[in-house]
């Protein structure tokens, strides 16, 4: 465990985060965008765990936060999917470009 330097892991989490951002900006499909958001959340989770492990090994705060975020993400996914289903019912599509009713 100690063999892996912290920078490696941070590199992974940063990569994951920007993959998420890329997905968020390029995809028009809501499900894909939701998945991209999950990627970003997980990169943050990795950060929490890593910093907890390397900086304050005796404590568990980071781990707790991770569990907390996973829980929230689950709930958020449920809400988001509910929104998506409703959007589909109204537009017969889940393309974000189609939902423009509230545009000025």
């Amino acid at each position: 465990m100690n063999g892996i330097p912290i920078s490696h892991i941070l590199f992974v989490s940063t990569a994951l985060f920007f993959i998420g951002i890329y997905g968020m900006f390029t995809r028009r499909n809501l499900i894909t965008m939701l998945m991209a958001i999950e990627l970003m959340l997980n990169s943050v989770n990795i950060n929490f765990v890593v910093f907890n492990k390397y900086l304050w090994p005796g404590k568990l705060d980071g781990v707790f936060f991770t569990i907390f975020i996973i829980t929230i993400a689950a709930a958020e996914a449920a809400v988001a999917i509910a929104i998506i289903i409703n959007l589909y019912r109204n537009h017969q599509s889940i393309d974000v470009e189609d939902a423009v009713e509230l545009k000025h």
Binding site: F25, V96, A99, V100
Partner: protein, 642 residues
């Protein structure tokens, strides 16, 4: 029976009547609301008379001095220890007398209205307002706390407003009710300031404590209120003058009297109750209530005296020229209240010098009977003729014998012809004036001559003069309209024989009212002269009145136009206040206040027009703004958060 067991009923019954008739009158008691009102008032009157009997003859006295009894007291709002607004009932000679007067006259008016207001669409509303008024007036007279008196003061003001504007489909009635309300409100503002000064300096709102503290020359409150001064006048004088302005507004004293003649737009029984016998004497009552404090302050008594005297003579002169019979009576009321005021003004506390106090209350008492009688008679006449104008009347003695006789009795009483009640009370008023100020006495004497003249001018114009032929079926009205006239005329005949000094005096002790035969010659002569002149001019139709009016020229015209006081008010309000305060205020409101608001709305609109392009409907665009924001914040935090 102990007072506390039933005394609140005198007040609460009319209140209950008001609530009952006000809420359900229109639906449930369309016909019977009048009877309910009469019944309620009858019980109140009986209880009041019983209270008066108990107080004056059984247990009011202690060592030959009438005590102030407080049977009911309930602390309502406590500000500090000693300063609280209480709701209570005070019994002292003047309060008990007023209880009797208010309930009795109110009962008479209730009975009279059964006939007079019959068939009115808002019959039950009328009775509920009458009950509200009676409740408020009773609360006012028994108040134990100066703030309680203020609350009920406003309540009588609002009931007066409602009743003046009873025929609200007539624009003149609406204007009159507004005028009465605004002028008395203005006076009440001064009253409130006066109360606050007294309460601040005296440290209490309770009447007895306040009077006790402010009359005790050793107390710290007395020293501070008399030594502190504002604009060179002591604070006590300020406070009492402000309180007196409040009373003058309610009592229609010069120059705040302009609302009273207009208030005659209301139904005539209302004028008899509110604008003749009860509410308009509230100012006199207030001064009498605070009399111990007034009597230690010469300056404020001086104001009371002169305002009273000026009102008395001014109103009497105006009354001689008016042609609307109710307006004549209104000015006559103002004149008589002027008598009561200056009688108080010339009095001092205790013993013989307190004669004016007793005289004032005596005149208030007798005036309540004969003036309400006059108004009710006028009501009966108006009921028959359907006009207020003297010119439409004449020769009515054949058609309405009861009204004729009772009106004559009241006229003789107000003119001061012995042995009717007005003679005795006016006699004491004049005597009190004679002892302290000869000039006031002269004015009063001249006014009593004028009083006799204008009352008999009214009498002869209505019942004699040209004979008017009415339909043969013209009749006087129902029994319920005649009964109060007869009862009140009996009171008018007999009230003067009450030894008033035994009951009411400035210090509660027995005061033997002096009766000097020599002294009464002058006023009686003046009164008889007035009557004879009126008879000469108005008994038969002739052109003498016109000739006299023409020879008086400018004076007649000025009196006919009520000395242009209304015009002066209009000038001050319309020309000066409107132009100097109203218009700048309107300009500020339109341009600055509204301008600020419009500017904010315009700015918001403009800014949102610029930035609305950002709301593109593209979710990714929003996410991009979000991330850019986060990055900017991150940079700021990293580099500038030290």
């Amino acid at each position: 029976m102990n007072y506390s067991e039933y005394i609140s009923l005198i007040l609460l019954l009319p209140l209950a009547g008001f609530v009952l008739l006000g809420l359900f009158g229109k639906k449930l008691f369309k016909q019977s609301s009048g009877m309910i009102g009469v019944l309620v008032l009858l019980i109140s009157t009986v209880l009041s008379l019983y209270t008066a009997y108990q107080y004056f003859f059984v247990n009011g006295k202690l060592n030959d001095v009438y005590q102030t009894i407080i049977p009911v007291k309930y602390t309502w709002l406590q500000f500090a220890s000693g300063t609280s607004i209480d709701m209570g009932i005070t019994l002292d000679p003047i309060a008990v007398m007023m209880l009797v007067v208010v309930t009795f006259v109110s009962l008479m008016v209730h009975i009279f209205s059964l006939g007079y207001m019959k068939g009115e669409k808002r019959f039950s509303t009328y009775y509920s307002f009458l009950s509200l008024f009676t409740f408020s007036m009773l609360g006012l007279v028994v108040a134990s706390n100066i703030f309680q008196i203020y609350i009920f003061w406003e309540l009588v003001g609002i009931s007066s407003y409602l009743l003046i504007g009873f025929y609200f489909d007539r624009p003149s009635a609406v204007a009159a009710s507004k005028k009465a309300f605004i002028i008395t409100r203005f006076a009440d503002l001064c009253f409130l300031i006066g109360i606050l000064i007294l309460a601040f300096e005296g440290g209490t709102l309770d009447f007895n404590t306040l009077i006790h503290r402010l009359t005790d020359t050793q107390s710290s409150q007395y020293i501070s209120i008399t030594t502190a001064s504002f604009l060179g006048v002591s604070v006590l004088t300020w406070a009492l003058t402000l309180v007196f302005i409040g009373g003058a507004g309610k009592s229609a004293m010069f120059p705040l009297h302009v609302w009273l003649p207009d208030a005659m737009e209301g139904p005539t029984p209302v004028s008899a109750l509110i604008h003749a016998a009860t509410m308009v004497v509230a100012g006199v009552y207030l001064v009498a209530r605070l009399f111990p404090v007034f009597s230690i302050n010469e300056a404020s008594l001086y104001i009371v005296t002169w305002i009273g005297a000026i009102s008395a003579i001014l109103a009497a002169i105006v009354a001689c020229t008016q042609t609307d019979i109710k307006r004549v009576l209104a000015y006559s009321t103002m004149s008589q209240i002027g008598y009561m005021m200056f009688a108080l003004g010339v009095a001092h506390l205790g013993g013989e010098s307190g004669l004016g106090y007793t005289a004032s209350m005596f005149h208030l008492f007798t005036h309540a009977f004969f003036k309400s009688l006059l108004f009710l008679c006028a009501g009966a006449v108006i009921h028959l003729i359907h006009s207020n104008e003297m010119n439409d009347m004449g020769g009515l003695r054949k058609y309405m014998p009861v009204t004729h006789i009772t009106f004559l009795v009241a006229c003789l009483a107000i003119a001061g012809v012995p042995p009717l009640s007005g003679f005795f009370s006016k006699e004491e008023v004049l005597l009190a004036a004679f002892h302290s100020n000869k000039l006031i006495y002269g004015i009063a004497l001249f006014t009593s001559g004028l009083t006799a003249f204008y009352m008999f001018r009214l009498y002869f114009s209505i019942f004699w003069n040209k004979s008017k032929s009415l339909d043969t079926h013209a009749h006087e009205g129902t029994f319920s309209m005649k009964l109060p006239l007869i009862v009140l005329s009996i009171c008018t005949l007999l009230a003067g024989f009450i030894p008033f000094g035994n009951f009411i005096s400035s210090d509660g002790k027995n005061l033997e009212l002096p009766f000097l035969l020599n002294f009464s010659i002058a006023p009686v002569l003046f009164a008889l002269t007035g009557i004879v002149v009126a008879m000469r001019m108005y008994k038969k139709e002739n052109n003498l009145p016109h000739r006299v009016a023409a020879s008086l020229g400018g004076l007649y015209k000025a009196a006919y136009r009520k000395f242009y006081i209304d015009e002066i008010y209009l000038f001050i309000t319309k020309k000066i206040i409107f132009n100097l305060i109203g218009r700048p205020a309107a300009w500020i409101d339109k341009n600055i206040v509204d301008g600020t608001m419009n500017g904010i709305a315009y700015g918001t609109g403009k800014v949102s027009h610029w930035i609305k392009g950002i709301q593109s409907g593209k979710v990714q665009g929003y996410a991009l703004y979000f991330f850019s924001g986060i990055i900017v914040l991150a940079i700021l935090v990293i580099y500038f958060w030290k």
